[in-house]
């Protein structure tokens, strides 16, 4: 770079110096220009002022309410949690398994009377009770587990 610089070029180089190291020639030309040009010295001073003041701004974090509303919005708009459609063959298979379980439970619990204690139950009946309890727990917790898992999987890494 040779010769003298115009004010516009000095301004642009001033901005570029924030992004890359200027060459020795550029630096000399700028120094020579700044020594003689009040306008460009003002530009450089204002630039420093702007950067310094922006660096001093204390930016707030998003409120908990905003984060909560955003999460709710995301859940509401996500199609796979709202209307997750199961394939037909899974529904048929579940229906058949449920029907067999129901028949098995009826047979296993046929001999059980209300006055029997847990220890008096025959093995088949005890197994049936365990299956009932297991299903109840699964039905209760499955939606919570699924929602949490999907939310974790779908949210970008940094948002967790």
């Amino acid at each position: 770079m040779t010769g003298s610089l115009r004010c516009r070029e000095v301004e642009r180089l001033t901005l570029e110096s924030e992004d890359r190291a200027l060459t020795e020639a550029e630096r000399r030309l700028i120094d020579a220009h700044l020594a003689a040009c009040l306008r460009c010295r003002d530009f450089a001073a204002d630039r420093t002022l702007i950067r310094r003041e922006l660096a001093a701004v204390r930016w707030p974090a998003p409120s908990d309410d905003l984060v909560f509303r955003t999460r709710r919005l995301i859940r509401g708009r996500r199609p796979d949690t709202a209307t997750a459609g199961l394939p037909a063959w899974i529904i048929v298979a579940l229906t058949v398994v449920s029907a067999f379980t129901a028949v098995g439970l009826v047979i296993a619990l046929a001999d059980v009377t209300p006055d029997m204690s847990l220890a008096d139950l025959p093995v088949g009946a005890l197994a049936a009770v365990i299956i009932i309890a297991q299903n109840a727990l699964t039905l209760f917790f499955a939606p919570v587990v699924l929602r949490t898992f999907r939310a974790r999987r779908r949210m970008p890494e940094g948002a967790r």
Partner: protein, 182 residues
Amino acid sequence: MYRTDVYRFTLALAGDARDAEDLFQETWLRAVKAEPAGPEGGGREAKAWLFTIAANAQKDLLRKKRVRRLFLRERTKAISGGTADADPGWDTPGQAGRDEAVRSDVRICLRRAVARLPGRERRVFVLKDIEGFRHEEIGRMLGIPEPTVRTLLHRAVKRLRRELAEFGPGPERPTILEEGRP
């Protein structure tokens, strides 16, 4: 961790807290929708990706606002100063003496001036001066050539200087000529 970064960016872009909240929500909605196409893992790349989404969302929101103004014949906030006087969401420091008060004035003027920058210039300026991205990164994020980034930044700084001179607290404005060398 990025939610604070995204919120800061949307605050700086939107100019007031209410618009920033809309932009924040829109950004995350789009991010979740576009997540499979996003970068693997976290880091600067993920942050840049989120900011790109936010910048695009702001572009769309500005466009919608312009259309709404056209149809509803709203007086533009820029003319009435509405944007400048709305809740900025930027924290202004406590009044700890004369120096701090003057600096606080400068910061208020600066906030107003940034809010008045045209969309493209504002996006470039915020990405550079507030978020600290390099020209090359900003070009990639906004899909514009690097020389355009430099031109937009130059324009933004010149416009800010004009605005600051207009709003500035006059003789009380701190002079920093001695440290003004680039």
